[in-house]
């Protein structure tokens, strides 16, 4: 088992007092498995993803990954987890604007000391980025930027990829294309994928679907 989430709760301070976002979520994920998290806005799906990635702090509950409870890790421990085990892809602003595409793709791998130029070139090729390697992110289209983020994540060979609406900012056609490429490469790499999406069509292409409603899995 790659990931086991037990009874996870999280609430935020809102203008009218505390707002519960997650109310006791349990979840498991096997290595190489792909999982879609769906739900309405505010259902807590992004929060769950952030908590698993150690990007945010849970109120109660446990997040077991690699024999460690992510919820109990300090900042350095979480950083190490993200560096070596997890790759995160946001909806936008994933890239370092002052670095070229090539440097961005290699960046996560360099952080985790897994830099492999051949693999990065393969990934760039697979994602159709070979012509863009010397450009800067601002010179790319939204779809190209997300492809770079995907390449960067896969280059670091994480066991688990967390994607938060990776194609939410793209038009439908581009989104489908990007998702195709991503799923193929993820399968090839053997990483597990947990993706937040509100597109049912996209969710259907994943191995498993979980729906979040009012902070609980249904």
């Amino acid at each position: 088992m790659l990931l086991e989430v037990k009874n996870l709760t999280k609430s935020y301070a809102g203008p009218d007092g505390t707002v519960p976002v997650l109310r006791g979520v349990d979840l498991t994920l096997e290595a190489g498995e792909t999982l879609a998290l769906t739900g309405e806005s505010g259902s807590g799906k992004s929060t769950l993803l952030h908590l698993v990635g150690g990007l945010d702090y849970a109120d109660t509950g446990e997040i077991w990954m690699n024999g460690r409870d992510v919820a109990r890790l300090d900042d350095a421990g979480r950083a190490e987890l993200r560096r070596t085990k997890v790759g995160v892809i946001f909806q936008q602003f994933n890239l370092i604007p002052s670095m070229t595409v090539a440097a961005n793709i290699a960046f996560h791998a360099r952080l985790s000391d897994q830099n492999d130029a051949a693999r990065e070139a393969d990934l760039a090729h697979g994602l159709g980025l070979s012509e863009q390697l010397h450009k800067y992110p601002e010179q790319l289209s939204g779809g190209q930027q997300q492809r770079v983020a995907i390449a960067r994540t896969l280059a670091a060979r994480p066991a688990l990829i967390l994607a938060d609406e990776p194609t939410g900012n793209l038009d439908e056609g581009t989104a489908a294309e990007v998702i195709d490429q991503m799923l193929a490469l993820v399968a090839e790499a053997g990483s597990a994928l947990m993706m937040v999406t509100h597109s049912m069509a996209l969710a259907a292409r994943m191995g498993r679907q979980l729906h979040l409603s009012q902070g609980q899995l249904t």
Partner: protein, 797 residues
Amino acid sequence: MNAAGLSALWSHWWRNKLQLATLLAGLALATALWSGVQAINSEARASYDAAAAVLGEGRFDQLVPASGDAIALETYVALRRAGWQVSPVVEGEIGVGGTRARIVGVDPLTAPGGSGTSVLTAPPEPQDFLGDGVIFAHPSVAEALTARVTQQVITDPGVAPDTALMDIGVAGQILDRSSLSRLIVWPEQPLGRGTLSEIAPELVRQGAQEGAEVGRLTDSFHLNLTAFGLLSFVVGLFIVHGTIGLAFEQRRGMVRTLRALGVPLNRLIALIALEMAGFAIVAGGIGVLMGYVIAAALLPDVAATLEGLYGAQISGALQLRPDWWLTGLGIAFAGTLIAASGALWRIAKMPLLASAGARAWSVASGRTRNLLGLSAVVFLATAAVLIAAGQGLLVAFAGLGALLFGAALALPALLDRALAIAERVAKGVRAQWFWSDTRQQVPGLSLALMALLLAAAANIGVSTMVSSFRLTFVDFLDQRLASDLYIQAEDAEQAARVEGFLEPRTSEIMPLLFVDTRLAAGSAELYGVRVGATYRENWGFLASTDAAWEQVAAGDAVVINEQMARRAGLWVNDELTIAPEVHLPIAGVFGDYGNPIGQAVISEALFLKLYPDIRPTRFGIRVADKDAARGALRDFGLNEPQIIDQQVIKDFSIGVFERTFTVTAALNILTLSVAGFAILTSLLTLAAIRVPQLAPAWAMGLTRADLGKLELLRAVILAALTMVLAIPLGLVLAWVLLAVVNVEAFGWRLPMFVFPLDYATLAGLGVLAAALAALWPARRLARTPPADLLKVFSNER
């Protein structure tokens, strides 16, 4: 991980080279101004210290001959054998290679600590100094001396300029004299020694504080320079703060990404700190070098200024001293730390998932503004107390600092009020939008505007002081140099013949009689003058009785200079003891600028009664035809150099004062330029957050060209408002400099004159600086692609 993290951080600068240049330039400029001024200061100080230590002045009492310049060796031995702990010094000048070298011989065996050889940078071996007579010479004379003497000459920058230090025996040989010049008195003396009047009645004891007078004057000048250096540094810091703030805002997204990819927060902060330290070293190094260049460029003027003003000798050569070199780098580090600490703190506090887009980094809330206003009130109150009640130069400067700081802190609130009023009275929606939008920019621009305020106020304050000084001084010279020609006779005998010759040929002869003495417990010059029309018409008083000169002429009164009056707490109608048993009322106090020594003036007749041995050798004369008089005097047998035209003296004296202020003027211009630079960088910083603020106005019908023009107008208006506030601040600054600092430092108060035209010019320059600074950002704004403006409405920012 470190390499990857640093490469990401560095890539930002690589992509934003202008920002990098601004950061480095700001930091380097700040350091340069500071370290340049420090370089001048420490160089000058080192020279005085060397001079003072060689002379043994300032710290020790001395025994000097009451007349002449020689003390017999036997007198020294007699004093020692009577228990007096004194150390001999032989001094004199010799011509070497077309210049003059001062020869100073000391006895290291008896010299008290802190005098004698203690100035040398490399300790001499006793065998060398005493046995072989090695000479230690300042670089300015070392080479010429080597050719002149048989002894080995070692160059030592610790020796005073144009001076060579050696054993007393060697000095005696070179100067060919067996007598001593003076004796330094140890502060501690043994029990039961004889009295000076019994052992050596021909010597007089000179108090230690007299040598310190030069130190007091020059200290004030240096304090002035230091204050300017610090002000410049603060102005520079505004730039650095602005640039670093901008860089951090622009890198918020990168910070989020780096953390999301697993760079721990502590590591990230450490890497940024490392990056900043690197900048501090590079920019600090450049700044120190630039400071060196500034100092080297200004130093000849400073040297001339100090020498002309105070007779203090200062070396014209600049040395790279480790002390200011290190303080320069230190201040660059401190500045970077101050500028970056806020940004680092924000990064440390920023939640990982915070928005990646840039936000206004200095949008001040109402609470912040109130806090600033409160601090301003506290600072201004402190300033008022220090300036009104404080004593001493440092307190006066502290008061000045508090005043400037308080005024700077008050600026945002004052601008906000002014703009709010403009907004209320504005007609039309476009004007209202303009004023409210301008008001919104104040917090973001406040640092730069504060810099402009301080630079302009300092400029106005100093130019007021300088111009007041000049006006007063030229008046004073007209008074003092009222006679047409000055005659310098070779001796009293020639003087008497000249006087007889001139009697029928001139309208007025004014012999100059004077003696160095002690009056009112300080050293002073006592003058005897022949009171005539010239004195009555040209010598004005700061305060006097109705018929001051008549009283002086009758021998019933004395007039004294302001320095003596202030130092001794005397004023008109007080009594001054001129000689034992001779007490005279003070009939007037006259201004005597640039002179550290007290002066008292009595009638010629009284003077000759008190000092029957002193005969005049100098005269001032009034003649109708200068050239004819000059010719007659030449025919009489006087050399050309013995006849001095007063205009030449006047021009020379004014020239000396002109040079005094070249330095401050240069620093003023530099400071104003730096303030303009601060505005530029602030506007560039704000440009990023301006787009979303302006996009709605654009969408609602303002053209991009309109936006650019208004942006320029906005900068001009803010600068103009700041300049309006800078003028009263500058005048207060000038008043403090003239009426408080000057009295503390120099002992006289300068009348203050106001120069509205100058201020208008300065204000114009300040606005121009702001307009120039705003030109490029405004142009960039006018050329913002519509797509960028549209983006504001379509994505997260």
